[in-house]
């Protein structure tokens, strides 16, 4: 785990509230954007983000530093909880389906300039990496990651075998990681 992540986690475990502020400033917007992308609902997305930070603060031991980066863990936690909520709402037929796009959008103009410059670079690189993914891998990743469909559900939707779904996800994830510079991995 990167040294910075480890120190952040140690300070949280020690009850240092100032570090939570720093962590929120560095990743809060990304977490919210991801949750909003999945849920399409601002209040729901805010609740998910709030809950994620509450989990980290109240149960820091739920994160294991031996298993990876704190920021990656938070992103996956928010994604999983957002998908949980999305599926729960679908079961209650409380919402219309959300059309999910993986296109990389221009950076929001309201974000401050300094942040937007580094975000814009990151987004461009990510966008380029995603666009290089074969369409078949991209569509499976989209259905799995952003819509939370299980492998059998994806297989049924696309009319392919379960094994094909799994391998496309795996290959997509690998390609994505390998096509990015070290700094963004």
């Amino acid at each position: 785990m990167k040294l910075k992540d480890q120190k952040v986690w140690e300070r949280i475990t020690a009850g240092d509230g100032t570090v939570l502020s720093e962590l929120y400033d560095s990743i809060g917007s990304k977490l919210f954007s991801l949750s909003f992308k999945i849920l399409g609902d601002r209040w729901d997305a805010e609740e998910v983000v709030q809950d994620a930070f509450t989990t980290l603060w109240k149960k820091p031991q739920s994160f294991d530093p031996r298993k990876g980066k704190l920021t990656s863990w938070l992103m996956v936690l928010v994604r999983n909880r957002s998908v949980d909520r999305y599926r729960s709402r679908k079961r209650r037929k409380d919402t219309t389906s959300i059309e999910v796009s993986l296109e990389i959008q221009p950076v929001d103009e309201n974000i401050d300039v300094a942040t937007s410059a580094s975000h814009a670079d990151e987004k461009r690189l990510l966008g380029s990496a995603i666009q290089k993914l074969p369409e078949k891998q991209l569509s499976v990743l989209k259905l799995s990651y952003f819509k939370g469909l299980t492998h059998p559900e994806i297989a049924k939707e696309l009319g392919v075998s379960l094994g094909t779904v799994k391998s496309r996800i795996r290959l997509g994830v690998e390609k994505l990681r390998n096509s990015l510079p070290e700094s963004l991995r």
Partner: protein, 412 residues
């Protein structure tokens, strides 16, 4: 190796069974290479997550997150511990809400039925204007502002309930149902609608309106069974509601009962379920709003604190609301709780206490609503310069950690 990587991907996506998840966790814990591979998988998903379009976050989300650090620990109730029921009567079959529901026709022939229908229709309009997908949620309050005035016409003025014919309604339960829809979450909603109409509103006010509107609609459906049958059917399904849901809603909120708005602080909230169905949650909410209205309007600075604990009263959840008050205001409030027959005295404060007494006596199958007070299932006491209001509610049995219908992610 491919199979292992696939398993790690599936684990990260949260689609493995509990048994498979535990196996993966064990592998990760034992083998550093596996841990490294898992870390890589998580990083890849993190990158994917980062590709989401950057969306502006509300300014107050950070302050709500930061308040987490200030979460107070469980506080000692001091003298209150000695007053609370030691062995409350817990009926064999737990009360899960729905009691006290009536039909609109039970309101008689006056215009009260029309009032309820108009109010619910305006809530349907408001809901779309303040939902998380609305333009108001994004910061554009223009549409909401246009509609705010007409919606607020359905909010009763202070102390107007007594003169609108409610006392002529023949059925006690119908009166209570009507009062619940007028006196609990609605007054606070009126405050925020006025604020927005006067162009003084913000996105945090929109968020607050969203929760108030949602609560108001649930309370109305739980009060009048034929108001919206389809949604009521969904409200009656078994679905646990955790204390966390209440905390999310009340945390950092502002509340008003025909007075200046004050900040609500969330003290200690236990982790676990509070109610089993939306109709029960609506009734629980109604009780909280009633006490919040009574206390908030008497608080020296408009502020009050809510705490929820399941360890003070055996088999029950205790909700306490605390605020700094003057001794004069406390005395008036205490006298209201002391009244034996709140129902008969046409006064909104009396009605609010009566609603909570009736609800709690229903939950514990008490013979009369007065017993709820005499046996201390609901109360009003003072310590120092603070007034404490409370009510007790039967705990959900065989709880599994609360929360509303979510599956536990392997990363928790």
């Amino acid at each position: 190796m491919l199979e292992l990587e696939q398993k790690l991907i599936d684990y990260s996506l949260g689609i493995l069974s509990s048994k498979e998840s535990r196996e993966v966790e064990s592998l990760i814990a034992k083998d550093k290479q596996v841990a490294k591979l898992f870390s890589g998988v998580q990083d890849s998903f993190c990158l994917l997550g980062n590709s989401a379009r950057t969306t502006k976050v509300s300014d107050d989300l950070k302050s709500r997150v930061m308040e987490i650090c200030e979460s107070p620990k469980k506080k000692s109730l001091g003298f209150l511990d000695k007053l609370l029921p030691v062995s409350p009567y817990l009926p064999n079959s737990r009360y899960a809400g729905g009691g006290g529901s009536v039909d609109l026709s039970d309101l008689g022939n006056g215009d009260l039925k029309d009032k309820i229908n108009r109010l619910y229709e305006s809530m349907l309009v408001l809901r779309s204007l303040v939902s998380g997908t609305s333009s108001a949620a994004e910061g554009d309050l223009s549409e909401l502002c246009k509609s705010a005035e007409s919606i607020s016409l359905n909010v009763p003025a202070h102390n107007s309930i007594c003169s609108n014919g409610v006392s002529a309604v023949p059925h006690e339960e119908a009166i209570q149902s009507f009062l619940r829809t007028q006196l609990t979450s609605l007054p606070s909603m009126g405050y925020f609608l006025s604020k927005i109409h006067g162009k003084g509103g913000s996105s945090s006010d929109v968020r607050r309106l969203f929760y108030l509107c949602r609560d108001q609609m649930k309370i109305m459906r739980a009060s009048f069974g034929d108001l919206d049958g389809d949604l009521l059917a969904d409200d009656e399904k078994m679905r646990l509601h955790g204390a966390g849901l209440l905390k999310t809603k009340w945390w950092g909120a502002q509340h008003s009962y025909y007075s200046r708005a004050g900040k609500v602080k969330c003290g200690y909230f236990f982790e676990g379920p509070v109610t089993e169905r939306c109709v029960e949650f609506a009734e629980y909410d109604s009780n909280l709003y009633s006490l919040a209205n009574l206390l908030g309007s008497r608080s020296e600075n408009g502020e009050f604190q809510i705490d929820l604990d399941n360890a003070n009263v055996p088999g029950c959840v205790l909700a306490t609301l605390t605020a700094t008050t003057s001794s004069k205001k406390h005395t008036v409030l205490k006298n209201t709780f002391n009244k034996k027959h709140n129902r008969e005295i046409l006064n909104e404060d009396n009605y609010l206490v009566h609603l909570v007494k009736s609800s709690v006596s229903r939950a514990f199958k008490l013979s009369t609503s007065c017993e709820a007070f005499s046996k201390k299932y609901i109360g009003c006491e003072r310590t120092g310069n603070q007034t404490i209001l409370w009510f007790v509610w039967p705990s959900v049995l065989d709880s599994q950690g609360g929360g509303e219908a979510t599956t536990s992610s392997p990363l928790q």
